[in-house]
Structures are given as C-alpha cells and as structure tokens.
C-alpha cells in the first residue's frame, strides 16, 4: 500500500469517526483558520487531513498535501533555528507556537504563526498532531517596518546629537577665542596707556593717564576673574575686590596706609561686573589718593555685606576728609554717579571726621527693577 493510500485510509477513518453530523468536525472543516492533522503512527508523520482554509492559504490541492510531511511548506529562507525548534517539539511530544516563514505552491512566502500540538490516545501515546496556521505576514511587515523606523530614528537622533556636540564644541572654542582676544586687547590698551605715560612730562596729563590706566585695570581684573569659575553667568565680587584692592594698594606703594577687608561672598550677574568694578575702583582710588596727602598715615576699610535684598559696599577712610583733600575731581565722581544709576544702586557719602565713608547699596539680582 502506498503512503498516499495509507494516509487516505487514515483520513477516511477519521472522517468516518466524525461524520456529517459532528458539529466539531464541521467547524474545523469550515473555519477560516487553516488547520491540518498528521498521523503520528505512520512513518514521517504525514498529513491526513487539511481543511479548505489550509488549501487556500498554501495554494495546494488536497490531493497534493495528503500523505506528505508538512516540511514541503519550508523553503530556502526559512530559519533553520525555527525548523530545529519545531523538530525538537515534535520529537519531545510538546506543543509549540512559533512564527516561521513558509512557501506557497507558487513559491511566494508568508509568515506562518504555527501552533502544533500532539493528540494522545487513552494510553497516552501520540497518535496525531494537530496544526493550525495563521498568516501573520502583515503583522511581521509592520514589526519590521517599526524596527526600521526606530532604527532610522535612532540614527537620526545620534546624527543630530553628534551635530549638536560638534556645534557646542565649536561655540566653546569660539568663546575661548573671544575671551582670549578680550584679555589680550585689554592688555594692549593698558600697555598703550603705560607707554604714553612714560613719555609724558606734563603732571596733569600723567595724572589723567594714570586715572584711565586704573579704570582699564579694574575692567581687566574683572576679565581675569570672569571665566575662571565654571559658572560664566555669575561673578564673585569679594574675590574681585581682594584682587583689585591688593593691586591698587600695592602699586600706590604707601606702606603707611593700612588697608583692611571684610568681605562676604556675594555674586552678581556677569553683566554687572564691569560697572560695579569701576565704581569700587573709583571710590577706593579716591580714598587712597586724596585721603592721605603728604605721607599722612591712616586706614582704609572695604567691606561687603548682604542685607535684606541688598548688597552693601562700604569704603571708609580716616584721612583728611572731603573738604580738605580736593576730592570728587569731576570725572571720577561723574563715573560713580552714572554707573550707580545704571546699576540702580544708591550711593551715600558721609563726612566721618576724620575721614569719609561712602556706602553703595546695590539691589540683589535687580530686585529694585
């Protein structure tokens, strides 16, 4: 007896057991899901039943599938791993659900969500395998498409991140370059003033040049400090005052004038650093230059404190006072007044006999705007 005939007989037997009036058999024959039954008792486990949905799905005629092992559905692109898993499950008598690439009669492919499960007799022996096939090509395609889209998206994000990092790198380099140029140009300006001062004989002109040099130095001191901290937006006034006062007092070369500092750490926005530096420089210079004529000794104190919503900067000396020491020589005072206006700061000058006290109140973070 040929295999086909054997299978046909097994099929007839199955059909006889589940006659025309068997609703379960009718359901399986008519369902839209492709289903097959194989005969595990025959050599090579041939198909003995295939419903119409299976034939529609695979494109074969019933006579072409009965009596064959269902591996004819596999083709060159079917995953060997999937085939291995399928064989393993059959050999172990386990059921298995697996997505596998199958081939139709015309050679076209479809993704088959295969469910295969053994059917046992009363003795527990496997006599049939029941298989159902569902075409999930569309789902697979969508998944594949999603994977590609996601991978494209990841590539795009990565590329954009690379671009941005590069742009940031360039901007940082540019910032360093600009910072470098600002510092060098300030150095150039101060060297120009120093050179001219060396050539100049007229005391009044020398005095003016010195004044300008001091102002440029105050701005230079700001720039030396400006990009030192990680935070380029904020400026530490106390550190700046320490640098400035030490430089000005040192270059005045007046050991008989004692300078004391009482500085609380306060930060201002970087944009306010230069005008504030000029105000402090001007006031300290005033005390240093005009408070102690003819080698008079004394004391200058500079303090910065923080009180409710304001920074209080106080520069006090015990020198000769305002009337005697021809102070507020026009330009310096004008600078202080104008810059206080710009900073929305209030400046008060008090004769303390002896000496002078100037207090500048600066709103914190532009609180008085």
């Amino acid at each position: 007896m040929t295999d086909y005939l054997k299978s046909q007989r097994a099929s007839d037997q199955l059909a006889a057991e589940h006659g025309i009036d068997d609703p379960f058999a009718a359901a399986i024959r008519a369902t839209r899901m492709a289903m097959i039954v194989t005969d595990a008792t025959q050599a090579d486990n041939p198909i003995i039943f295939a419903n119409d949905a299976f034939l529609r799905l695979t494109g074969y005629a019933r006579s072409e599938v009965i009596g064959r092992n269902c591996r004819f559905l596999q083709g060159p692109d079917t995953s060997p791993v999937a085939i291995g898993e399928l064989r393993g499950a059959i050999a172990d008598g386990d059921d298995i659900a697996i997505d596998i690439l199958n081939y139709r009669k015309d050679g076209s492919t479809f993704w088959n969500a295969l469910y295969l499960s053994p059917v046992r007799n009363k003795l527990g022996q496997i006599i049939y395998f029941f298989g159902s096939q569902l075409d999930v090509s569309e789902k697979k395609q969508t998944e594949q498409h999603l994977r590609e889209t996601r991978s494209d998206l990841e590539d795009a994000v990565e590329a954009r991140t690379r671009e941005l990092s590069l742009a940031l790198e360039q901007k940082t380099a540019l910032l360093h370059e600009v910072d470098h140029r600002v510092k060098n140009n300030l150095q150039l300006i101060s060297s120009l003033l120093l050179l001219q001062n060396r050539r100049e004989k007229e005391p009044a002109v020398k005095h003016s040049l010195r004044g300008m040099l001091e102002r440029v130095n105050a701005i230079a001191t700001v720039h030396r400090r400006l990009f030192q901290s990680e935070d380029v937006e904020r400026f530490d006034v106390s550190a700046f005052v320490r640098d400035l006062v030490s430089d000005m007092a040192g270059s005045a070369n007046r050991d008989e004038i004692r300078v004391s500092l009482d500085l609380e750490r306060v930060d201002v926005p970087a944009s306010k650093a230069a005008p504030l530096a000029l105000v402090i420089s001007e006031l300290f210079s005033n005390a240093l230059r005009h408070g102690f004529p003819e080698g008079r000794s004394g004391h200058i104190s500079v303090s910065i404190t923080r009180t409710n919503g304001e920074f209080r900067i106080e520069i006090a000396d015990d020198g000769v006072g305002m009337a005697e020491g021809a102070r507020s020589t026009g330009f310096g005072l004008t600078i202080v007044q104008l810059l206080c206006q710009q900073l929305k700061a209030r400046s008060e000058t008090t004769a303390t006999q002896p000496g002078t006290r100037v207090v500048v109140n600066l709103p914190v973070n532009g609180a008085h705007h």
């Binding site: 910072d179 150039l188 101060s190 060297s191 230079a220 640098d243 430089d247």
Partner: protein, 154 residues
Amino acid sequence: MPGRALDVLIVEDEVLLATELEFLVQEAGYHPVGCAMSSDEAVDLARSLHPDLALVDVHLRDGPTGVEVVRKIHDDCGCVALFMTANVKRLPDDFAGACGVIGKPYSEHGVKTALAYLAVCLEEGHAPGLPPVGLALAPAYAELWGLTETPRSA
C-alpha cells in the same frame, strides 16, 4: 630691589606689549637682555644669552608655539621660563617645565611683585611665602621652593 638682578628674556609677538614689558622689567631693577617674537628667535636668543628668566607668551608670530619654546629652552639651556598668557587654562599640567604663569591681562604692579618674588625664589632656592596675586606656580616649582599648597590665583 629684592633678589638678584635677573637677566630677563621677553618672548612676545605683540610689539607694544613687549616694549612696555621691557620698560617694566628695567624699572623693577632687572636686565631685559632681549625680545623675541617667534619661536626660532626665542630659542636662539635663549641659547646665546643664557637668561635667568624668560617671560613667554603662548601665541607667537609663528602660532601657538610658546609651550614648545618653554620646553626647549628649559631642556636645552636650563632656563627658567614664566608663561604670560590670556589662556591659562590651556597650559599643559606640567607647565612644559615653566615655573608658573601670569594671566593676561596683568597689571604693572602684578608683574613687578611676581618678578620680585621669583628673584627671591631663584636666589634662595625657596619661596618667601605664598605667591602674590596674579602669579600661579607650576606644581613642580612649588614643591622645589618648599610650598605644599599652590592656589592658582592668576
């Protein structure tokens, strides 16, 4: 004038800065022995003049070659170099063998006090105290001159 009368070589491509620095060095009581504007010139002058101290800008006429100049004159002539640059952060960690750095923009007073301080260090082999404002010492020199901590204040 504190310390000994150092022979000072100026390596700076900005002519106005170099000229003013020369005046300043002289005014402070030291001997400016020459000015170089490029790296080749700097190395040649260092070899022929044997200065005690070279003040070196990082950017010279032939590019950012100041660091190499410092390495060469330190290795070849044993000359002590001091960087004067606006780009303190870009210096190598070992300062290429330089003793320290003065950050630009520097002040007249800042340079004078730094020179006086270094003159004492070179003369006596140890530092008279912490470096003045504006001067930062290289770690190797801070150790050589007996300082354990080196606040980079430049």
